[in-house]
Each structure stands twice: as C-alpha cells, then as structure tokens.
Amino acid sequence: MNLQTEYLGLKLRSPLVASASPLSEKIDNIKRLEDVGAGAVVLYSLFEEQLRREQLALHHHTTFGTESYAEALSYFPEPDEYHTGSRGYLDLIRKAKQSVDIPIIASLNGTTLGSWEKFAQQIQAAGADALELNLYSIPTDLDTHGWEVEQTDVDIVRTVCESLTIPVAVKLSPFFSNMANMAKRFKEAGAKGLVLFNRFYQPDIDLEALEVRPNVLLSTPQSLRLPLRWIAILYKRVEIDFAGTSGVHTGEDAAKLLLVGANVTMMASALLRNGIDHLRIVEHGLTDWMERHEYESVAQMRGALSQIHSESPAAFERAQYIKAIMNYPMG
C-alpha cells in the first residue's frame, strides 16, 4: 500500500497531516506525531496580534504602579531577556526540525502587510519546510467592501510568496463571494496550496451567567462536507495543491477528501479529542478502505471523484442542495 503523496512540492510518506493546533506547542507531541505516522506537521499559528498583546501586557504589568511609592519603586525583577515576539515560535521550528524528519510547516497570522512579510522571512530562516498563511480575520467595518477584503488577502499572499523561497499554502475562509475565483487569484499570487477551510471560533452564550463566552468547538465529521465540495470543484480547474481540513475523524473521511482531489488531509479535532495515537487508527482505516476497494496508492485515488471525474458533476453544485432537502424524510 503506497500512501505517499506530494504536497507543496514536499514528498510525504502519508497524506495524514496534523493541522495547526495546540498539540504542536510541545516538541514531544511533534515527535509522537511522527512516530504514529503523520506525513507532516503544521505548527500552531503564530498570531502577530497575540504577540503584540502579550508584549504590551508584559510591559503594562511590569511598569504599572512603579516609581510612585518610595518603598516599592517596582514590583518585578527585570530579567535579562524575554522570549517575547516570534522568538519562542522560531525556536520551536528549529527544535522541531532537529527532532523529526517529516516536514514542518509553519503557520502565520499577521496584522499588516509588512509584518506578514517580516515574520514569514523569520520563519523561513528558522528552517520551516513550508509556510501556511492563516488568513484569519473577521471584517466588521460597515464601510469596507468585499472586494477590498479580497484584494488585501491577495496582496498578502503575493507579498509573502515573492519574499520567500519555501512554498506557501493559504488557509482561507469559505466566506468569499466566489471561492473559485479566489482560489485562482491565490494561485496567481504565488500560492502552492490551498488549505480548505479555516474554522472560525464562534462565541457562545452562557445562559446562567448571561455572558458571551469564547468557546472552542471541535469539529465533527459533518464539517467535512464543505472542504469536500470545494476541493472537488477546484481540482484540476486550479492547478494548485489542496489540503482538506475540518471534519477528518476517520480513515473513511480521509479517503473521501483524497477521492475529490486533496493532496493531504489534515486533522486537529480528532487528535485533540482522542489523542495523538488516533492518527494510527485513521491510517489503518484509510488503508483498510483502500484494500477493500483495491486501491494501491493514494496517487491512484486522488481526484477520482472530483467534479471533473465524477459521473454527476452537478452533484457538487447548488441543485444538489435543493434536491437533498426535498428528499429529506419528514417525520
């Protein structure tokens, strides 16, 4: 059984890739991911906004109330150095590269064009094999047009791609007016892969405390449907690699994504919920399915059920949705 695949020009032993999550904060976890068969590891995202907040909070708390009262002119010692900014993240890349043989893909979320470029270069210099741009933002300004949002994203991708030699993937949201057009534009901007899709953490309501609470919901297998559709639609229509993420919990889920054209399938929720060893089970599930269906390799599977290879291409488009609803058994 040949599980090998190619993603962003990197040769992977398996299409099962750990996506960005807190698991990759520890080197031990990265090693374990390699041990259980991950084809690559995407590190958790470096959020520039978070780094900024962290620096300002540190500054605030170490200076707050100082130089005011004669007996306590400060309240904290002043260490020689801090691991603020990207330093900790870059150290993680370096250590990960020293510790494992599988590719290490860094992930970045910046705030300004300049900072995207700067951090991307730092990440490349630290030795990352590839970079995933995490285009995570929620535009809420009433006066910002959709096209402006799109153009900003494309500019970021172009700027970063032009400044790097390592391959760049774009992890994007599904909320574009025309995803296909955006996929094409990202490709033209220099991206080598698309990661479909980013999951936004939606706030929840605590009905007892009557408060809004941030609440991380892990994905469910149902989440798979969205990337499944779009990879299927875009496969071969945009010459770019695809990573399917969201809702990959079993070998069968992975098989579906590969069949519609994904180069790799990414997992976070399933590993967070079931532990890192769960990746072995997923791999077993995938190989088991392949054996049962007499597939010899991932390459053989890839895109077999994409829109262009599907017997019913329209099934991936809107009509299918109406039909599905109409056929839903009513109780």
């Binding site: 005011s68 400060s74 010692p77």
Partner: protein, 1182 residues
C-alpha cells in the same frame, strides 16, 4: 578605560559587592532592598564575580537570619556580604559582636536609615549605624554615589587585611536613591586593590574537619576579660590598613581618599566635622564661602570606627578656633551625640595647642533637608563668643530652643547648572522618564547629571517630584532644588493644591500638561499661578500629554511625551540630537520587551512636538480660581493646623511644639483629606440594584456605603439623593441607599466588576456603572454629606451572617492610602465593621501598617459613640508577641477588675455586681449591656471615692469584652514573625490573627516570601520560585486548639464572613489566612476578584475552616469550603504576570515549575479531602 555611567547609589554599591562576594545573604528592607534585588537578578542571569563564578544569593527569613547565615558562611571562609538598614541592622547586632570577636573579615553595605521611635521612618540618617558602634565593626562612611561605589571595594580589601568586619554605609535615599554620573570600577581595578593573599588567608582560617578547631566557647571570669583584650592590636593597626587600601585605590583609579579629608581654607578658623552626604553640602558651601574670603573648612569623617585619634586631629588646620560636629542621629539623654563625643575625646587626647571651642549639633534626621543655608547658619553660629551647644539645624525647635535660625533664601547654585523640577502623578512614568533623561544627558554628553526623586507616602495617586541637575562639573548637591530654571507640572490638578512655582526663578520655563488649549489655558489657571507667571516673567508651555499618550497607545503613561517636551524646550541637547537619543534609548530600553512596546513609545515621540505650544503670558491677572484648602474648613484644630500643613506639603515648617510628644495621633483623619483621585466613580441605579451588599463589601477604600433607615429620616434630602425601599424581607418599611464618597473614591472599579445586578434588557448595564467624576463631584459631595447624617441602623436589627444586611454596618476603616483596588483592605474593613468598636489591633510593619498608620492622615476611625479600633504598630518581627502582650494585659486587667468588683460588691450592690461579673458578652447585645453596666458602675464608684474604688474606676473598662486582632502580611506571618506567631498560637490565648496573604513582601516591592507559590516570579526569585508555598494553615491545625480558616473574598464572600465571625467567637487562638490580590501580582486590579475565583476553582487556594469546637462535639473539625479543582491550574496562572512572565523569560523552567505546581494542587486537594472526610469520633480520629 574607565566607563562613565549614570546610576543610583544602591546599584553602584551592589555592582562591586556582587563582584567581590561568594555568598550573599539577603532580606528586604527599605532603602537597601535594591542591592539584594540586583544581586539576585545578576545571579539569576549567571553573571560572574571577580573569580569567575556565580555568587550564591540566598534570601533569609529575617535580617537576624541573614546575619546568622553570613556568620556561618564566613566560618567556612567564603567572602560574604549582606545589605540592610535600620531595624534590619539592629537585628544583626548579636551576630556582629560574634563576627568581630572572632576577627572575621566581612562587609555589610548599609543604606543608613532612621530607627522607629515615636514613629517609623524609611528615610535616611545615621541612627541605625550609630547603634552598632560598640560591636567592634569598622564603620566607613561614603558621601556620594561615586564614593559608595569606590568604598565598596576599599572596605572589602581593608577588611580582609585588617581581619576586622566593616559596615560600609551611605545615606539612605539621599545616596542610595540618588542617580549620578560616576566612573565605574573595572574588574582590573578591583583585582589591583584586592589582595589575593588575604583572600586565601581568610579561607585558610575557615573551619574544616581537615584541621578541626573549636569556636564559640563559653568562657569564665578567669579569662573572658583577657581574651577580650587580645584583639586590640588589630584595631590599632586597622586605620593604617584602611588608609593603605585608599592609597592603593588612588594609585589605580586616581581618586584619592583619606580617613579624614579636610577641605577648605588652610587657615580656617571655623570647621564643621561631618559624615555622610551632608559632607558634600558642607564642602560645596565651604568652596563658596572661602571664595568670598571666609576662613572656613570641613572635615569629612570617613573612618568612624576604629577612630584614629591622631589622624583626626592632624587633619584639622592648626588655626581652627571653633568646631561644630554635626551628627545625623539623636541619642536622647546623652552628653552629646556620638561623633561630637568622639571629636572632643580625640582632640583632648591629641590636639596640640589651644583647644578650640567644640560644639555639637543635630541635622537631617529622616532625610530632613540639609542645605547650604543650614551650613551657613552653622558657620555663622561659630562666630559667636558663646555658641549654643547641642543645637539643631533645619527645624524650628520652639520647645527646647535648640534650633539655629537660618536664611532660607541663601543659595550657592551655580549659573552653569541647569536645574529642573518635575511634578508628576505617581506611576504616570514621570520618574522613569527623568531617570532616562539623566542617562541620555550623562551618557551622550560630557555633562554631569544628578537626579533625586521625592515620593509621596500614599500608595495610590501620589505625587512624585523629580529634581534634576545637569552641568559641566561633577554635581555635589545632595539637597533639593530650590531655584529651578525649568519647572514642569505633569498633572494639572496639582495647580490648585500645591505651589508649583515656588522654586521657579525669574525668566525660567514652566511646562504644564493640560487638557486646556492655548486659547483657554490662561483662564483655567488658579489666580496665584497667574500672579507668579507674570511676576517672575516665566515662559509658559503647554501640552495635552494624556491625549498624545492615549493616541499613541500608552494611555496613562505620559513619560515619553513629557520627556520629549523637556528636551525640546530646555535645549540641553540640540533638538534633532535629543530626539535621536530618546529614540535610541527607547529602542535599547524596550528591546527585550518587543517591537510593539518600542513602536508605541516611538509613536509617542513623533506625536509630541506638534502638540507642544508656547503660550504668551498676558500681563494681567484675570483668574478668580483660589487655591484649595488642604482640609475642609471646620475640621478639628489639630487636623487644620498640623495635618493640614503636612497635606499641603509644608510639614517642614511645623515647629516642634506642633508635634505630639509620644507619637499618639487622633483616629479618623482620612475623612479630612479629600484626594479626588478618581477620573470615574461608580453611580448607583436603584432600579436595577438587588441590594446584595457585595459592592460595599469589596470596596477597598470604604467609599461605597449602604444605609437602611426609616423613610422619615429622608427629610431635607438633596434633590439628587437616591433612595429606594429596602428589599430585605426583615427590613420591610425601611428605605435603602447606596452612596459613594466621590472625593475619596480611587476609581478602581472593583465594585462595578463584582456587581451581579444587570439591566434585563441591556445586560451591559449594571446597578453600578462608572461615570466621569468631575461633573458629579459637587452633586455627590453634597449627597455624601447628607448620607452621613442619616442614622446608622440599630445593630440589633442587623443579621451579621448575611452579607446584604451585614454590609450596612459602619466601616471603621476608611479612605486609606492603599493602592487603588487593594486586596487587603476589604478584609480589614470587614473586621472593623463586625468588631471595630471593641477591638485592639496589633499591626505588623508592612503595607497594612503604612496605609494604616502613615501620616499625615490615618484611616482607622470611630463611630457615633466615639468608639473604634485602637491601633498600634510595634515592629515587623514581633507583631504576634505584641498582640499577645496586649491580650495578656487585657486578661489580667479584666481579672483584677473582677476581683475588685468582688471586693467592692457591698458598695456596688449585689444586682450590679452580678451583672458586671456574669453578663454574657459573646454577642453584640451582651457587650452593649455590659457597657451599660460599666457606666452604672462608674457612677457608683464616683460616689464611693475610696482608693479601692478609684483603682477600680481606672480599670472598669476592662470589664467590657476586648478583641485582640493581630494583623499583618505574609512576610511577617510566614517568615520574620513566624516563630513568634507559632508561639502565640500555641499559647491558647484568645487572639485573632489575620494574615493578609499577598504571597510576597508587597510593601518593599514584591520580594519572595515562604508564602510565594511555586513558579511565581518575585524579587529574590527572579528565575521563578522553585519551592512550594508553605502551608501555614496546616501547621496551625496541628495544635488542634487553633481555629484556622482560609478565605478568598472574591471566591466565596459568605465563607469569608462566616470565618471572621467564627474566629472572633472562638475562645482561643484563631488564624485567618486571607487571599489578598496585589499590584505585585501583575494583574488587572479592577477585575482582581476573578483571580480569587480562579485561584479557588483551580485548587491553588483552598477554602476551609478548621474549628476545634466541632471536634469537641465529636465532628471532624475541618470543613472544606472549596469544591474539587475544576479548571486547570494554568488557566489561573496565565491570569497573572508573576507567573506569565516566567513563561516569557524562562519558558523551560516555567513548563517544569507549572507542572509541579499542578501536582501540588492535586496532592493538596487529595490530602485535605482526606483530612476533611476522615471519620471523627469524640474529637479523635477513629
């Protein structure tokens, strides 16, 4: 090539002491703490000493402990030091005798400080050092930051050679905290001065099993005396050795010192003899006076012990006719102060020729200003035929008439020195910016620079005054600036309160941070400010620094903005060069904190200049805005005349006769000091309020008050006064008001954060919401005054176990100067609400003694009957014993009073006797009844008028129940006072101990205590605390008869209340350990109660009550009031900078320690759960 650097005295000393030590034993005490902090930070960063190894820096539980550790380390031949001051030095004295008696070289670096007598003072004088002069230690005094740096080396070298230990001392604050430009010693300099043979000899004398010896024998009358005399040759040789070290030092550095340095006219007739920083003032004044032809001089005493009689006499010019010896200490009852006595003796023994007139005087106690005007007064005084001896200078002694008159306008400030005074609001960054300015000028130009900073005694909303001098020559002016070329007011509301322009010289600059515009500012200035601007022809510049700072992302921190203005206006550096230097400093200072911090500061620099404007000063005074009175008219006379003068910062002008003779001050005086600190204050919405009482309970400043009262009382209420029917079913028919004291509120916002009542249709609207104070000030001031006139609810109608009712009890602790949002004060306030009218409080030194007892005004107050807590602070280390002594005395007095009642029963009458002896005082009603009984007793005794009756009359109040509360922080309870606390708990006496556990030494700036949790970063634990928190409660429980509770107000307020009531009710020792959030935790103080909650929910802080009375009933005495941990510990740790910063400074250590801390949580929970659930049978485990 020696490097020039601007730094303060503490750092200057620590840099050398660290290099020359192998073991450093430390303990925090102002003003020396910074030397220990530097040492710990350097060791934590693995900086090497002169011999290429990292010194071991160890924090001890007290200065006594530090001295013991030093003694032990010295016995092992290690080069050992410590840093201390004041009471800390006193605690070292026993070991000092031993160390000297054993001829052991060592150096203590002392930032000399006042001793606590009629009151404590953290400021500088020589009282502490003078208390050690019989110990046999050498005493070497340095006068400036440069000398303190240099003498740190000279003392160590001389000590090793002389085999005598030394105190190297310099003036607390004046030198320890003065920033000056000095020439740094290099390692080569140090090597050249240190004699390696002596280091080896010291090590060779160490105790070693390889060559065993015995030290510390017990000696008998036959030989002790002779043995004591064996050391004489070492003392005799010592002065030569010290001078030789000074000479070697001079050959290396070019800076020559002598044991006694004379400066002035070679043919001087009048000479001042002086030690410490004051010598610099005298030196400069002598230069000024001799230039005018006066024959005066100064003898700077550097080596005070061993006193070299010959050199001392030889240093004086033969022409001297009159000498004034100035001591910065007081020895009541002595013939004269110590150095005066030594000088007379020395000259008596060694003076050749006609003996000059010698008089002694005192100056500068507790950092009292000592200026050229004072020096001139002394020299002038020496011209008199019969000068006053034992004089004082710098104060007005209208009681004993010791003081010399002086001309306050006399000044010797040179025209070549730029002098700038900055008035800032504490924590607005002013001081930090000025320290940076000094560095920029000192390190970018050939100019010399000096900075000294005067801080307020309040922890919140205080004023800072920065005094900066710059000039081409070394600056020897250890006194405040009285003639400023540049004055800056960084907080515009100071203008109405203090005379900001008193120091401004004609034609100088005044920079004002104001929200007013160029067009409106003139009209907004108080009349006296306008008058001075015109009369002194001042140039006025304005900037709205708060807006510039806020727009740059630095709300509240106006430091950079004001710094840029200073450079732009003063022209100390060319404009572009100054901006470049500021930016460079910003980049250097904040490099490690990250680009975001740098960017924010750089933005502020760029935004400043375009917002700085010069205002043309009109020629006519137009303002009718008066200066505010320091205290409201109508305040008691003492408050107006004495405390008010202190509040107005004119305390220096108070004469001796104004001061209480024994340190006793009236209660309840904070009510007169209206500080108006809050930009926003809470506003109550009665329609939303559920009357839970939580806001009042958590208010750290007792500014939110609740009253329930008969509606009829509302007659004459101001129009805007709010009232609503009381919701409590037991208070039906009563009205209910929550009122804020607008001028006392600090605006911390904790009340709003804790308020659970929300508008059902807009959940961001609570029953309390913060609103800008200025528009509300007058209206709410009137409402507040009206509120105070409403009657307090009869305490019999209040159920103390219910917060919603209990919180109408009047707090007898109000408006303290604690940090805004303090975590300790709500507990103290609760104590006073519940038991204040019959409590005596013994308070350990620390935050609670400072906000509890720091002048000018104090927060413990009294109720309408004039009753309230009686409060005293003894020391840091003895508080449990202090309170214990109170208890023993009260018990004895009560016992004796009861005996007297028995004896006089016939006269008193059987019915009253019965009541006096048997009234049950366990609750308030009983205490009230007993007060009535005692009042009746007093009436009867007055008629009896026998000696026995008079004796009982003086003790009658002892028949009323008295609580003793022993209050202090964790530094006291866990460390320095633990032995005493343990003893007092074990005594079984009925004392109540309240430990305000901030988990660090908060008052001295956050040093580690044994209460500090594992993984927390604190001073003295810069690399994160490795050991777990000591479990004080568990230790106390092992006695079995101690009531113990751990509480956290923000986690379970009902449990806190219950614990206080149970602890007080328990007839035996009780201990309450109260989680107290603190500014030193690095938290958002507004939402601090959420940290309480997280601490409890994570299991980091267990809530429990251990009540021995339950054991007597056969129940398990331990009740766990916490639930099993439900959030990971990390969720709590990440809320606080003290933990978070370890992740940022040492991530790997943090990972390890945080994991261990989680283990602590798990193990602790398991253990306590076992203790609380184990079967109990008849008070014994079955």
């Amino acid at each position: 090539m020696a490097e020039w650097m601007t730094l303060d005295g503490n750092e200057a000393v620590a840099r050398v002491a660290y290099k020359l030590s192998e073991v450093i034993a430390i303990y925090p005490i102002t003003p020396s703490s910074a030397m220990g902090e530097w040492s710990d930070e350097w060791a934590s960063a693995s900086q090497l000493n002169l011999w290429g190894t990292v010194p071991r820096v160890v924090e001890m539980q007290s200065e006594a402990g530090a001295a013991g550790a030093v003694h032990g380390a010295l016995q092992m031949g290690a080069l050992t030091t410590t840093f201390t001051a004041s009471q800390g030095l006193l605690l070292m004295i026993p070991n000092m005798y031993k160390i000297a008696g054993e001829l052991t070289p060592a150096v203590f670096h002392v930032a000399a400080r006042s001793l606590a007598a009629q009151g404590l003072s953290i400021f500088g004088d020589h009282s502490d050092v003078m208390a050690t002069r019989a110990t046999g230690w050498g005493l070497l005094s340095s006068v400036s930051v440069q000398e303190a740096h240099d003498f740190a080396l000279i003392t160590q070298a001389a000590s090793l050679k002389a085999r005598l230990p030394f105190i190297h001392f310099f003036d607390g604050f004046r030198t320890s905290h003065e920033v000056n430009k000095i020439q740094l010693l290099t390692e080569d300099d140090m090597r050249a001065v240190m004699d390696e043979d002596m280091v080896r000899a010291h090590r060779q004398r160490a105790l070693s099993p390889e060559r065993p010896t015995i030290r510390g024998t017990a000696q008998n009358p036959d030989v002790y005396f002779q043995a004591r005399e064996t050391v004489n040759p070492f003392y005799a040789a010592c002065p030569d050795i010290v001078q030789a070290a000074m000479d070697t030092f001079a050959s290396v550095t070019g800076r020559q010192y002598h044991l006694y340095d004379y400066e002035g006219a070679p043919d001087a007739e009048r000479v001042i003899v002086i030690m410490g920083s004051g010598a610099e003032t005298v030196h400069e004044t002598v230069n000024y006076l001799t230039a005018q032809g006066e024959r005066v001089g100064v003898l700077k005493v550097r080596l005070y012990r061993p006193f070299d009689v010959e050199r001392f006499a030889a240093a004086l010019p033969a022409t001297v006719k009159a000498i004034a010896v100035l001591d910065r200490t007081k020895e009541p009852g002595s013939v004269g102060e110590p150095m005066y006595g030594d000088a007379i003796t020395a000259l008596h023994e060694a003076w050749q020729g006609v003996m000059p007139v010698i008089i002694g005087g005192r100056y500068g106690l507790s950092s009292k200003e000592f200026t050229p005007a004072h020096v001139k007064a002394v020299f002038d005084h020496l011209t008199q035929a019969k000068p006053k001896n034992h004089f004082t200078v710098g104060i007005n002694d209208d009681v004993s008439h010791t003081s010399l008159d002086y001309d306050a306008d006399f000044s010797i400030e040179g025209a070549d020195v730029i002098r700038a005074v900055f008035y800032g609001l504490g924590a607005d960054g002013t001081v930090g910016a000025n320290k940076n300015s000094i560095k920029i000028i000192g390190e970018n130009t050939d100019n010399h620079a000096q900075g000294y900073f005067v801080y307020d005694s309040k922890k919140s909303g205080s004023m800072t005054i920065s005094h900066l001098r710059f000039g081409p020559n070394p600056i020897r002016a250890p006194y405040l600036i009285s003639q400023a070329n540049f004055t800056a007011c960084h907080q515009e509301n100071f203008l109405e309160r203090y005379d900001m322009l008193a120091e401004a010289i004609p034609g100088s600059v005044f920079l004002l941070n104001t929200r007013s515009s160029v067009d409106t500012v003139w009209g907004d200035l108080p009349r006296s400010v306008q008058e001075q601007l015109i009369a002194k022809r001042l140039r006025l510049f304005i900037i709205d620094a708060h807006t510039v700072a806020k727009d740059s992302g630095m709300a509240g921190r106006i430091n950079i903005v004001m710094q840029v203005c200073f450079f732009a206006i003063s022209g100390v550096l060319p404009g572009d060069e100054a901006i470049k230097a500021i930016k460079k400093t910003i980049e250097k200072t904040y490099a490690k904190k990250g680009e975001a911090v740098i960017a924010m500061n750089l933005k502020a620099v760029d935004n400043t200049l375009e917002n700085l404007f010069e205002v043309t000063v009109p020629q006519t005074v137009t303002s009718s805005i008066p200066m505010m009175l320091p205290v409201p008219a109508g305040a008691p006379a003492f408050v107006c005349d004495v405390l008010g003068t202190m509040i107005a910062r004119r305390g220096d002008s108070l004469p001796v006769s104004a001061m209480p003779i024994d340190g006793v001050y009236p209660s309840g005086t904070t009510q007169y000091e209206k500080r108006n600190l809050a930009e926003e204050i809470p506003v109550w919405d009665p329609d939303i309020c559920i009357q839970c009482g939580k806001c009042a309970m958590v208010c750290p400043h007792a500014v939110i008050r609740i009253k329930a009262y008969e509606p009829a009382a509302l007659v004459g209420a101001p129009e805007t006064f709010k009232s609503t029917p009381a919701r409590d079913t037991e208070w039906q028919g009563l009205s209910y008001s929550i009122q804020v004291a607008p001028e006392d509120c600090t605006g911390c916002g904790i009340c709003v954060d804790v308020c659970p009542a929300k508008n059902k249709s807009a959940l961001n609207q609570k029953a309390l919401m913060m609103n800008p104070q200025p528009p509300l000030r007058e209206q709410e001031r009137v409402n507040w005054e009206y509120f105070l006139t409403l009657p307090e609810l009869d305490r019999n109608l209040i159920k103390p176990t219910s917060i919603r009712q209990q919180q109408v009890q009047q707090p007898l602790f109000e408006f303290s100067g604690a940090c805004s949002g303090c975590g300790e004060t709500p507990y103290i306030k609760l104590l006073t609400q519940l038991f204040g009218d019959h409590s005596v409080i013994a308070n350990a030194t620390g935050c609670s003694s400072i906000y509890g007892g720091n002048l000018p005004t104090t927060p413990y107050t009294y109720n309408a009957e004039g009753r309230g807590p009686a409060w005293a602070n003894s020391l840091f280390e003895d508080n449990a014993e202090f309170g214990f002594g109170m208890r023993v005395a009260l018990d004895k007095q009560a016992e004796e009073a009861r005996e007297q009642v028995h004896r006089l029963a016939g006269d008193i009458g059987s019915e009253l006797t019965e009541l006096l002896l048997n009234t049950d005082q366990r609750d308030e009603a009983g205490i009230y009844t007993q007060r009535e009984n005692v009042a009746a007793l007093k009436l009867r005794l007055a008629d009896i008028n026998t000696p026995a009756a008079l004796r009982l009359l003086s003790q009658a109040d002892s028949l009323i129940k008295r609580d003793v509360w022993i209050v202090g922080g964790d530094g006291w309870a866990y460390d320095i006072g633990f032995g005493g606390l343990d003893h007092v708990l074990a005594s079984g006496r009925n004392v109540n101990v309240l430990v305000l556990d901030t988990e660090v030494y908060s008052n001295t700036g956050g040093q580690m205590s044994k209460s500090t949790p594992r993984g927390a970063v604190a001073k003295f634990a810069a690399g994160g605390k490795r050991a777990g928190k000591k479990d004080l409660g568990l230790m106390a429980m092992t006695y079995g008869n101690v009531y113990v509770a751990r509480v956290a107000l923000g986690a379970k307020d009902e449990q806190t209340l219950r614990a206080f009531i149970e602890a007080e009710a328990y007839d035996g020792p009780s201990l309450i350990i109260a989680y107290s959030h603190c500014i030193a935790h690095g938290i958002n103080m507004t939402t601090a109660l959420r940290n309480h909650k997280a601490a409890v929910e994570s299991g980091q802080w267990l809530l429990y009550r251990y009540n021995p009375e339950r054991a007597e009933r056969g129940e398990n005495p331990l009740m766990l009031d916490s639930r099993p941990p439900k959030i990971p510990l990390k969720d709590y740790l990440h809320m606080e900078n003290r933990f978070k910063m370890l992740e940022l400074s040492a991530p790997e250590t943090a990972a390890t320690l945080f994991a261990e801390a989680q283990d602590d949580v798990n193990n602790r929970w398991a253990y306590y759960e076992y203790l609380a659930n184990r079967p109990f049978n008849g008070g014994k485990p079955s």
